[in-house]
């Protein structure tokens, strides 16, 4: 019997590589609802923008699957899992038995019930997959005014692509700032400024109340605030939630599938990885959702190792996002607004208004729990050490606030060891 993987995103690909590190032989079967080999999901907006070509969007070379003895069932959906008989039922009516199963089904867009009926219109879409990209592409030359519902990561990236294509873009966002989950109030000011500069119409603390339809197309949106806008297309980008509609009821879930630090679910021989899971988060110190690419890859790889018989644990997820809108870049880590979680939060800031640079570090009990960097890219990843290793903030305050961060301010012993590391930074532990 084979290793079976449901889903074909970064978690699935990393799992294949993880499995092959320890088991070169046993066949892997991937069940993929989308009829595409694994591609960079976030690239769908870059493709619309004209930054990347379709053929460059694939994550691995075409030979990857064959070289690694992976059979991919494209355009096939897993309908149900039976953990008693260890089989997965597929949309074409067949069933596949598994030796070990990985659920890497990612997320599905959250669409409020009131908007659902409009998704059948030819100019209304969500924006998370290849088919969405093609739907937008098919009408792009006929549209001028686009409304994006939701100013989160996907909404902002879609807005950027459309601005680059010369479209007139509106964003309606329920919160009082864009990117509400990954930016603080002050940081959002830079994005509001950049959106305005690019003539994006921003409706904050606002959303759509109703649409007006004409000939199977939405042509007007009436917002809660009373504003009415004429539109040629609507992108619904409110958020995603774990895709668990098909899973065995024995598998323990909350909003996502609960996994342990070896990526095992509550049912034996079934693992889960990526956006679909609730896994341990280093900074929060508890299990929670965290739909980010880097963690999907990490979890997939760890799951793969363990499915192939290794005993390797994950250090846990560190939330992080890097997102640009035109010339403004945001990188944020961990807990952005810790006031909601802790009482003894200290916030440290560095600002260079002339360069539009802003760095904010959130500290609790002398430990860095989160950070927001605007337009401060240089060597920014060094800060992850502080969150992963719990290095004392007070000792390194100047270093962390400076945009010219480096190793020179670390203790000699630490820096000599680190910059000469033989294996590189470790995220897994062998038990």
């Amino acid at each position: 019997m084979s290793y079976v993987i449901i889903g074909n995103g970064p978690a699935a690909i990393a799992a294949c590589e993880g499995i092959r590190k320890y088991d070169k032989d046993r066949e892997i079967i991937i069940i993929s609802k989308e009829d595409q080999y694994a591609y960079g999901r976030p690239l769908i907006t870059y493709q619309i923008a004209g930054i990347v070509k379709k053929e460059d969007m694939y994550l691995r070379r075409p030979e990857f699957y064959k070289e690694n003895n992976i059979k991919v069932l494209l355009g096939k959906e897993a309908i149900s899992i039976d953990s008693k008989s260890k089989t997965v039922k597929i949309s074409d009516g067949s069933s596949i038995g598994y030796h070990k199963l990985l659920i890497a089904s990612g997320g599905t867009p959250f669409v409020p019930p009131t908007y659902k009926e409009y998704l059948t219109k030819e100019n209304v879409m969500t924006f998370i997959k290849w088919a969405d990209m093609e739907k937008l592409e098919s009408i792009i030359d006929t549209i001028e005014n686009v409304l994006i519902i939701g100013g989160g990561l996907i909404g902002i990236k879609a807005a950027e692509a459309l601005v680059m294509r010369g479209k007139n873009v509106y964003i309606a966002e329920l919160s009082k700032r864009v990117l509400p989950t990954v930016i603080d109030d002050y940081g959002s000011y830079y994005f509001h400024k950049e959106l305005e500069k690019n003539n994006v119409g921003l409706f904050l603390e606002d959303t759509v109340d109703s649409f007006k339809i004409k000939k199977n197309r939405v042509e007007k949106a009436v917002l809660k605030s009373g504003n009415t806008i004429n539109i040629d297309a609507v992108i619904i980008a409110i958020g995603v939630k774990p895709e668990i509609s098909f899973i065995d009821k024995e598998i323990k879930t909350n909003v996502g599938i609960i996994v342990d630090d070896m990526m095992k679910t509550s049912v034996s021989d079934i693992y889960a990885a990526g956006d679909v899971t609730e896994c341990y988060d280093i900074v929060y110190g508890s299990k929670r959702l965290g739909p980010i690419w880097v963690s999907a890859s990490e979890q997939g790889r760890i799951a793969g190792y363990n499915m192939a018989g290794a005993n390797i644990t994950y250090r846990g997820r560190l939330l992080m996002n890097s997102i640009s809108f035109m010339k403004t870049n945001l990188t944020s880590y961990g807990i952005i607004n810790p006031e909601l979680e802790y009482t003894n939060v200290e916030v440290f800031e560095y600002k260079r208004d002339d360069l539009d640079i802003y760095r904010r570090i959130n500290v609790v009990n002398n430990r860095v729990v989160g950070a927001v960097f605007i337009n401060s890219i240089y060597r920014k990843g060094i800060i992850t050490r502080f969150m992963i290793e719990g290095l004392p903030f007070d000792k390194y305050k100047e270093l962390l606030l400076s945009p010219n961060i480096g190793f020179i301010n670390f203790e000699k012993e630490y820096r000599v060891k680190e910059i000469n590391s033989i294996t590189g930074y470790k995220k897994a532990r062998i038990v």
Partner: protein, 150 residues
């Protein structure tokens, strides 16, 4: 696998490794032409840090479990069969997720490429005969290229 190692006590902070790196990654591999006449002036993939009388170079560790590769949303960063972490600029969309994730701060924004956001990183002078250019350029043998561990 052979990697770069740095001897802080021997480093004089001259920065020749940075210069050699930029030249090696240029088209002409010529110091003057590459600086003044090429379309894109190269950004060094190695960094010399200096403070008082301390200085040392550092760059990519070619990690066994590379955070940058896990973070790469486009497949532009990958580990080759020898274990090197390499970069395919044609696939890169310039999201800087790799810079966000690298705990060594070893990936640099491509400072001089204006038409497109890109990054640069150490490739251990992948195809160069005689190994990495920085090693050869160091007047004090403060950078070594050798096998330590597996």
């Amino acid at each position: 696998m052979k990697k770069l190692y740095f001897r802080e006590e021997w480093c004089v902070g001259c920065g020749r490794c940075e210069v050699a790196c930029a030249i090696e990654h240029s088209e002409s591999k010529h110091p003057v032409i590459s600086y003044f006449f090429e379309k894109v002036r190269q950004t060094p993939r190695i960094i010399v840090e200096r403070k008082g009388n301390i200085s040392f170079a550092n760059t990519c560790r070619h990690c066994e479990e590379p955070d940058c590769v896990n973070a790469c949303i486009s497949g532009a960063l990958y580990k080759d069969l020898s274990g090197k972490i390499l970069y395919d600029p044609a696939k890169c969309v310039g999201c800087y997720s790799c810079i966000m994730a690298c705990p060594y701060g070893a990936i640099m924004k491509d400072l001089n490429r204006k038409e497109r956001k890109q990054i640069v990183k150490c490739d251990l002078c992948n195809k160069r005969e005689g190994g990495p250019a920085c090693v050869e350029a160091c007047p004090n043998r403060a950078i070594v290229f050798e096998e330590r561990g597996e």
